[in-house]
Symmetry: C2
Subunit: 176 residues, 2 copies
Amino acid sequence: MDLTPAVEKYVLHWGEMGTRWGTNRTVAQIQALLYLSPRPLRADEIVDLLSVARSNVSTSIRELQSYGLVKMTHMLGDRRDYFECLSDVWELFRVILEQRKQRELNPTLSMLRDVAVEVGDESETDPVTKERIQNMLQFVESTSDWYEKIQGVPTPTLQKLMKLGTGITKALPSKK
Amino acid sequence: MDLTPAVEKYVLHWGEMGTRWGTNRTVAQIQALLYLSPRPLRADEIVDLLSVARSNVSTSIRELQSYGLVKMTHMLGDRRDYFECLSDVWELFRVILEQRKQRELNPTLSMLRDVAVEVGDESETDPVTKERIQNMLQFVESTSDWYEKIQGVPTPTLQKLMKLGTGITKALPSKK
DNA sequence: CTCTTATTTCAGTCTTGACAGAAATTTAGG
DNA sequence: CCTAAATTTCTGTCAAGACTGAAATAAGAG
């Protein structure tokens, strides 16, 4: 079995993008492959399709499982592990948002809180600097809150929100 | 001149985060330093404060300028270049959003459009696969549209939107 | 309990990209 | 023009981490 040209293109591109945003190429390629696959795949099938080492597939799948993106299934009378990916894009979106929050926002938030306190004791620090730190802290806090709220929004509502985009703003000013 | 402990902590952390999201450590450190600095800095001052090579500062500033995050200024009677960073966090936000769109969304969008066409000619591709590609394409298109709309929203409105978060959804269902 | 097959862990290799330092170029003043 | 200061470009080195292949472990079947 082999990838069709279009699917191969998708998988390769996804792999490249993966490196741009936190994971490595293989992890992203496997996710793409499983997403496009109409049925769960075994590790050894992935090895063949992507031409990567068996061990690499093993660790990559582990990573995907830890994100909640991939789950294991089994076939009757076959003890090998089969893997499948979340197939709903909006579910994917939520998982990725959560990952980003954990890896990018949370550490920064805790650093900013620390620094905001520490800088209070530094008389040699310019007031402008202190203010900038405060501003950044508040911004990251808002963003973090926003991420959390979005997690809980059901898919159809999210879709509407996105479609609307800034349309909402027209309904806003009156609310102050 | 030297960094205070709090400022140093901020700059170092920011540098690490920078690697997590597309640029390198030095670029992010310089951005942090300029953001916190109450006045524009010269390249050689940055060299001293961060202990990096002059050449490194030069290329990093170029990168920041290309993003529109840093601009050059001058002092009367001093021909050396001074640099300062956007200091409004919401402006920063917009610039970063734009960068992310260009580096992550746009290439993927064009790949997906290509693939969606190409896969149409592949009779050996499973219908489920074709549907998944369509779904992803639509999702990325929505996201891309949303990014663009957000770019144009004035800061106070953005702030309100974020604060509201999902509060908006309560006003939604009736609108269908 | 042993053999076979599937999976994971681990150590070494290789690739990528950041960074320093030197060389080249640009720019303003004399 | 020529000189000196500032800046940029370029090349080699180094470090981080992705990936492979081998060795170790686990888990069913007979």
